[in-house]
Amino acid sequence: MSDLSGSSRTDTKSQSSMFKTSLALRHFRGRVFYGVCLAGSLVGILLLLVLMNDIRQDGFEYFSRHFFTNYPSRKPEIAGFRGAIMGTLWVMTLVAASAFPIGVGAALYLEEYAKKNRLTSLIQTNISNLAGVPSIVFGILGLQLFVRGTIGYGPAICIGESCGFGRSVMSGALTLTLLILPVVIVASQEAIKSVPPSIREASYGVGATRWQTVSSHVLPQAMPGIMTGMILALSRAIGETAPIIMIGALTFVAFSPETPLDPFTAMPIQVLNWVSRPQAAFHDLAATGIVVLLITLLTMNTLAVVLRIKLGRESAR
């Protein structure tokens, strides 16, 4: 009995030591904590504003028509971004063309076709692990698999004299495709999951096959979400630098690629090239390139938002 009262006394004691502070002090601490949290969440955004301002200050000196029509040059006054813009356009077109079918196909398999077994959960775990692999490792993969056509063991895949795709647009596009596939698949899966099961059941109920159900009911409903994920994945791919440096996108390219097997440069690579020169004029050129890059990304992200709102409204109708 005395034991019990003793323990309850220590309990109240520890309770009271927890709350012995005055109400005013507790209110004060609460307000301080609120302030700290608010400040903490604004630091990143503040730095973002400083970054934007820094680029705005440096980035418009060379912003003119011939920045878009000229190729890079040793003279900053006439250096342009055309090769990089064309290279990025080429690569992104190919990435979109290959990542969309593969990504959506994989998501459809996992959501609509796969049985719930170990193989499926292995594929799913693998996708989330792949999303965490550093992009430069994808670059190493692309360098061996696509540029040289070998995995380092056994013979290379060669057609005539040339092995692999060489240091070409194709190699860059395939490497970036593998890099963004996990993102595309996960986004598509989310979109497919959000299609209500009743729609599938109604379709099966009138005798549709699985593919008819998927292709004419599930996919159209999921499309806004899939497109949004796809655009966000592509905007990640546009900014990726490390993997395409690895596959050897040249940093000085005074031409635009004509075929998928031509060498190329890309916007972030050209920016890197300018940043790594010591002269300040080239740093300003880099800032101008960054302005173009950021405007492209902003446009794509706006498109993704608009698409989501617009298509979402249509499918709800």
Partner: protein, 309 residues
């Protein structure tokens, strides 16, 4: 007789055919999904084949314990420790920047912000992870580094680890903020309301109820973010320099594993040489470091998640 069987048989064949079509589509979709598995196998195979052929010429002991990394010089040193230390310096430093900021952001988003503020703040924070890393590199080299040299550390050269640390830290804030915010919001309202009912204020509810309940998700986000910082390439290549340097001083130039791989591929080292094979050995080390961290993070999320309802 034959006329009566035929329609049935035709229908049977049609069904059979459409079924074959269905199987075919299923197989094609399965191939799409297996691309991701093949990617992983390809990465592991390439890193292992080329990495092992590197370790035939350089002992693994020398590689993992050596303190001199000069594979491109005439007197070659193949000790990876300076690169690992550079990577860890950036990784730990970025964590020191991002962990407090990310956690505070997550707490503010989930516990304090009104839906309106939240709908503006959350996307704004996520913009930080959408900016290409080469842009962060530019900002670090042309703005942060000169600023630090001017006001804080005049002895520094043009390249220094600290400015890479700052931008990489900012870059990974959204990972922590976003995942921790989800974890905090998954804590049921009833727990918070119970604490409010016994007189706790918002600070006490946050630090003694919501935060501990969401801890597994928050820790998982920390590990994921650090793993991302370790794999980050362009900002550290541009801002931290290209000198393998066994140091803990953030005001010196360092080279990370990722930056080393980039520097070799930008140079003209011929393929097949021992110098070139170093990138596979370094890539292998990097791959396993990040893989282990990602697996730990996934395991924490799965095993220690508090399941409510």
């Amino acid at each position: 007789m034959l006329i009566e069987v035929n329609p049935l048989e035709r229908r049977y064949r049609q069904n059979f055919r459409s079924n074959i079509g269905g199987h075919l589509i299923g197989a094609v979709l399965f191939l799409c999904a297996s691309v991701t598995v093949i990617t992983t196998l390809g990465i592991v195979a390439i890193l292992l084949f080329e990495g092992l052929s590197f370790f035939k010429e350089v002992s693994a002991f020398e590689f993992f314990t050596g303190t001199k990394w000069t594979p491109l010089f005439t007197s070659k040193g193949f000790g990876v420790l300076p690169l690992v230390s550079g990577t860890l310096l950036i990784g730990i430093g970025a964590a020191l920047v991002a962990l407090p900021l990310g956690t505070l952001t997550a707490i503010f988003l989930s516990e304090y912000a009104s839906p309106r503020v939240r709908s503006i703040l959350k996307p704004s924070v996520e913009v930080l992870s959408g900016i290409p890393t080469v842009v962060y590199g530019y900002f670090a080299l042309t703005f942060i580094s000169p600023f630090i040299k001017e006001y804080i550390w005049p002895d520094a050269g043009p390249y220094m680890a600290i400015s890479a640390i700052i931008v990489v830290g900012i870059m990974i804030v959204p990972i922590i903020a976003s995942i921790s915010d989800d974890a905090l919001r998954a804590v049921p309202k009833e727990l918070r309301e119970a604490a409010y009912a016994v007189g706790a204020n918002r600070l006490e509810v946050t630090t003694r109820v919501a935060f501990p309940a969401a801890l597994s998700g928050i820790v998982a986000s920390y590990i994921l973010a650090i793993s991302r910082a370790i794999g980050e390439t362009m900002a550290v290549t541009i801002a931290a320099g290209a000198r393998p340097n066994l140091t803990a001083n953030p005001f010196e130039a360092v080279q990370t594993m990722t930056a080393y791989i980039v520097s070799v591929s930008l140079g003209d080292t011929p393929h097949g040489t021992i110098e070139f094979k170093t990138i596979f050995a370094v890539g292998l080390t990097l791959f396993f470091m990040t893989l282990i961290m990602n697996l730990i993070s996934a395991r924490i999320t799965r095993r220690y998640r508090e399941v409510y309802d």
